[in-house]
């Protein structure tokens, strides 16, 4: 009985959330529709369809009614403005893929009053927008207000963010104790040169690294697909089948596993069904740097040639594997 009631409550709650979501979707669809916008921009009359959204008001008091109408009008205008702003932001995020925003550090002792400049890096992988990466910058240097520093970020450790930050967002020069001589001055000069920050370059370089990383991951997935390695679990089953019956294919030189072997997904470890293992090293942009295949008797150059077939880029290998299959 009690469990029944609980289930019912759960169901109702789930329905409430879905309805709420639907309501939000409909509201934003309605408000972005051109006709609605037209209605709103050209002085809207009280008994338009928009009044269905009205709040309950006292009916027969004309003064309060007009007030309420004005209030509603304001609300609608606000909603419209918000929606438009959001649409614009989405457009920028979609097309520019590198956007900034302002945030506030909740820490009461944060530097610079908690002002935060956020970088948002969009990543598209397999025709989908992934969760963006964020870099949050602050200005901790009291001596120079224009120097930024990376405060927080959500980049995985395989992106060399720290190195890029040192390169493009160098801290302002610290006033060194005065010394004399050309050496000292040259060092100062160098330091000054170093301390010039370039947020745009930083953001571009960072985005480049992120996109490269995701492309490499994507290419690994493509390779797996092309080699017919499928998802985990499925592969094992296929392997067993292959050993038993499917011998008219290529049972011995079939690939059984391709997986990234390091954090940056630049090294791929490759396994064949007959126990040979290989390691493919690719460059930043997917060019093949090296491939080593080890068989039972040391290096297996033939298998390496067989896999690459003169390919220069990893995508060529994908095509090759797909064609061979």
């Amino acid at each position: 009985m009690a469990s029944n009631l609980d289930e019912e409550i759960e169901d109702l709650r789930a329905r409430v959330t879905t309805l709420k979501k639907q309501l939000r979707v409909h509201a934003s669809t309605l408000i972005t529709a051109p006709s609605t916008r037209q209605l709103l921009s050209s002085a809207p009359q009280p008994d338009k369809p928009t009044t269905t959204l009205t709040l309950p008001t006292h009916s027969n008091q004309t003064r309060s009614q007009t007030e309420a109408q004005a209030h509603q009008k304001n609300l609608l205008a606000d909603a419209l403005a918000q929606q438009q702003a959001h649409a614009q932001q989405c457009l920028y995020r979609t097309c520019a893929t590198l956007t900034t925003f302002r945030a506030r550090d909740p820490d009461p002792r944060a530097v610079d009053g908690g002002a935060i400049l956020g970088l948002r890096i969009e990543v598209v992988s397999r025709a989908r927008f992934l969760r963006p990466y964020y870099v949050l910058l602050n200005r901790p240097f009291p001596s120079s207000r224009h120097h930024l520093r990376v405060h927080r970020h959500t980049l995985p450790p395989c992106i060399p963010m720290a190195g890029l930050a040192v390169r493009y967002l160098a801290p302002p020069p610290t006033p060194t104790p005065s010394g004399s001589g050309g050496e000292q001055r040259r060092v100062e000069e160098k330091k000054k040169q170093r301390s010039r920050q370039d947020l745009a370059k930083f953001a571009r370089a960072l985005r480049r690294e992120v996109v490269r990383y995701h492309h490499r991951l994507g290419v690994v997935a493509d390779l797996r697909n092309a080699a017919g390695i499928g998802r985990a679990g499925y592969g094992d089953q296929e392997e067993e089948e292959g050993e038993k019956g499917d011998s008219e294919g290529r049972p011995s030189n079939r690939l059984v596993d391709i997986s990234p072997a390091d954090a940056e997904a630049k090294h791929l470890s490759i396994e064949w069904a007959d126990g040979r293992t290989g390691r493919l090293v690719m460059g930043d942009d997917g060019e093949i740097v090296k491939l080593v295949v080890l068989g039972e008797n040391g290096r297996d150059y033939e298998a390496a040639r067989g896999l690459l077939g003169g390919a220069v880029r990893i995508e060529d290998v994908v095509k090759r594997l797909a064609a061979l299959r």
Binding site: H86, R93, D105, P108, P132, V150, V166, D262, A263
Partner: protein, 564 residues
């Protein structure tokens, strides 16, 4: 077995057998619960592990020996299948742990347990008791000539700063082996963690120059050579340039009978200078071995031929909780966006946030906290439906204010901690040490400033052991105790004066937070309104991801936490 034992630098082979009566072996096994013991035994009998864990089976030809074994309490099984069936049936029925343990040591593995088996059993214990080891996290950094001990100055710009260290288990092991001294033998065992993206390397150190049975025989006479404090675990998180190294258990002499029974080694080496106890002596020795290993790790990771040399840098995170380590130093996005910043990567709390992330979704996002606000009464309703229903009717002004304050406290806690630091999330640190280096606020200063610093100059000890049993002691460093404290901390003060000039008096204030989940405890205090969440400094939310830190100007000093 080889007749002659020659001292070599090779590692101990996995197939090396240890006498099952060896105290270390029995200790490792008896730590396990009955069910884990059986599952480990079944694992040993698995096809993959069998070559290195073969049980004692009856041979068909020696029929005549049967008479001798009539009174054998655990007659050897005829086949592996039979043995597997025996253990599966043991698994099904109830019984004592003793029964299984004796069956293993006196029956099926009477001829000895291999080091591999012991490693498996030990790792099983680690999985059963995930908090049994204390881990410290290190970052693998490109090796640079030392420039600045504080690490405040940024490293030199070159291509090296963009390389991410790479890790290859077998190469690593080979190089690590060559780093370890030849008079120490170690057994290495890699295992992938069952639930976390970790590769665990168990290093079992033996104080013997031999890598044959001689090493074992020596160890039966002096048990310290075979001590659990000589087991070092190194965990490599997937796709992350960090390593986690376990600390030897120096204080827990309770589950360490070897160290108790043998005071000779500890005192002999260290001359009893510590005078603290035997456990410390042995622990100290083990620590030096560990230091040797820790020094060896970056060298083993380095590849001099490629001109890539690495060093380990401490990241000030020490905890027993591997999940927390993986969360804060793993391959994900959470490494330098802790506490409140986690809104920027969290996926798992509510779907309103998930939809917000893709730019193709034109639905206007609701502010992150408004959704929670509407849900919280519903959540409260699940607990006490009867109470929450009549509440709005009889609520007086006082109650309503309280209600509002509580709600506000909850919201503030949510803003500061976001989805992290929740009691049951399994990602808690047990101890946080913070040293405050801020100057004492002037008495004549404005009221606001003093209030702001007041919190930091109080000594707080928060016990976050669940709902109850929480204790909070707040002792203000007041005018009266100034004189005394000044005398004690004279050195510190003068040292820092030289740095900062006449900035005022700096008391030596050190805070230790201790509990099962420190930051969840602080969050609970914020939620219940004991700590003012809006004025709470950021390091109390755990957003830096460190457990040891120095606070200056209300912030954790240096760059160690934020990853840059």
């Amino acid at each position: 077995m080889a007749r002659i034992s020659v001292p070599t630098t090779a590692r101990l082979p996995s197939s090396l057998r240890v006498d099952p009566t060896n105290p270390a072996a029995t200790k490792i096994l008896s730590r396990l619960s009955r069910s884990s013991l059986i599952s480990v035994a079944l694992d040993w009998l698995d096809e993959i592990n069998l070559p290195q864990a073969s049980p004692y089976l009856r041979q068909d030809e020696d029929e005549d020996e049967d008479e001798d074994e009539v009174d054998d309490f655990y007659p050897p099984a005829r086949s592996l299948e039979e043995l597997r069936d025996i253990y599966t049936s043991l698994q099904a029925r109830k019984g004592s742990k003793r029964e299984v343990l004796e069956r293993i040591t006196e029956g099926d593995w009477r001829h000895g347990l291999t080091l591999y088996q012991l490693a498996m059993a030990d790792l099983q214990y680690l999985y059963d008791h995930p908090t049994s080891q204390k881990w410290s996290a290190y970052r693998i950094m490109p090796l640079k000539p030392p420039r600045d001990p504080d690490g405040e100055e940024p490293p030199e710009i070159d291509r090296q700063s963009l390389t991410i260290p790479r890790f290859h288990p077998s190469t690593f092991l080979k190089t690590l082996q060559s780093q370890v001294l030849p008079d120490v033998k170690a057994h290495y065992n890699f295992d992938a963690h069952k639930s976390l993206p970790l590769l665990i390397l168990r290093i079992f150190i033996l104080d013997s120059p031999y890598n044959t049975n001689h090493a074992m025989q020596q160890s039966t006479t002096s048990t310290t050579a075979f001590d659990s404090s000589r087991t070092v675990y190194i965990a490599f998180p997937d796709a992350s340039p960090h390593v986690f190294i376990s600390k030897p258990q120096t204080t827990t002499t309770v589950n360490n009978p070897g160290s108790n029974s043998n005071p000779r080694t500890g005192d002999g080496r260290r001359g009893g200078g510590e005078g603290v106890g035997v456990g410390v002596g042995v622990g100290g020795e083990a620590r030096s071995l560990r230091n040797l290993l820790v020094e060896g790790i970056p060298k083993a990771l380095s590849r001099p031929l490629r001109r890539q040399r690495f060093a380990l840098q401490s990241t000030s995170l020490v905890t027993r909780n591997l999940a927390e380590l993986v969360h804060r130093r793993g391959g994900g996005r959470a490494n330098s966006a802790g506490a409140g910043w986690s809104v920027y990567y969290r996926t798992d709390d509510d779907d309103s946030r998930k939809t917000r992330e893709t730019p193709l979704d034109l639905v206007l996002p609701s502010p992150p906290l408004s959704e929670q606000e509407t849900q919280s009464p519903a959540v409260a309703g699940t607990g006490g439906g009867k109470r929450s229903a009549p509440l709005p009717v009889v609520a007086s002004a006082e109650e309503r204010r309280e209600e509002r304050a509580a709600k506000r406290a909850r919201l503030v806690a949510r803003a500061r901690f976001a989805g992290t630091a929740v009691m049951g999330d399994g990602k808690g640190v047990e101890r946080v040490d913070v040293v405050i280096e801020d100057p004492f606020p002037e008495v004549g200063e404005q009221h606001q400033d003093e209030d702001g610093l007041d919190k930091e100059n109080t000594v707080e000890r928060v016990e976050a052991t669940g709902r109850k049993g929480r204790r909070r002691k707040k002792s203000r460093v007041d005018e009266a105790s100034r004189g005394a404290a000044e005398d004690e901390d004279g050195d510190v003060r003068s040292e820092e004066r030289g740095e900062e000039g006449a900035q005022g008096w700096r008391p030596y204030v050190r805070l230790t937070f201790h509990g099962s989940h420190v930051f969840a405890g602080i969050r609970q205090l914020v939620e219940s309104g004991i700590i003012d969440g809006e004025r709470m400094p950021g390091w109390m939310t755990g957003e830096e991801g460190v457990t040891i830190g120095a606070v200056r100007n209300g912030r954790i000093r240096g760059h160690k936490g934020s990853g840059v």
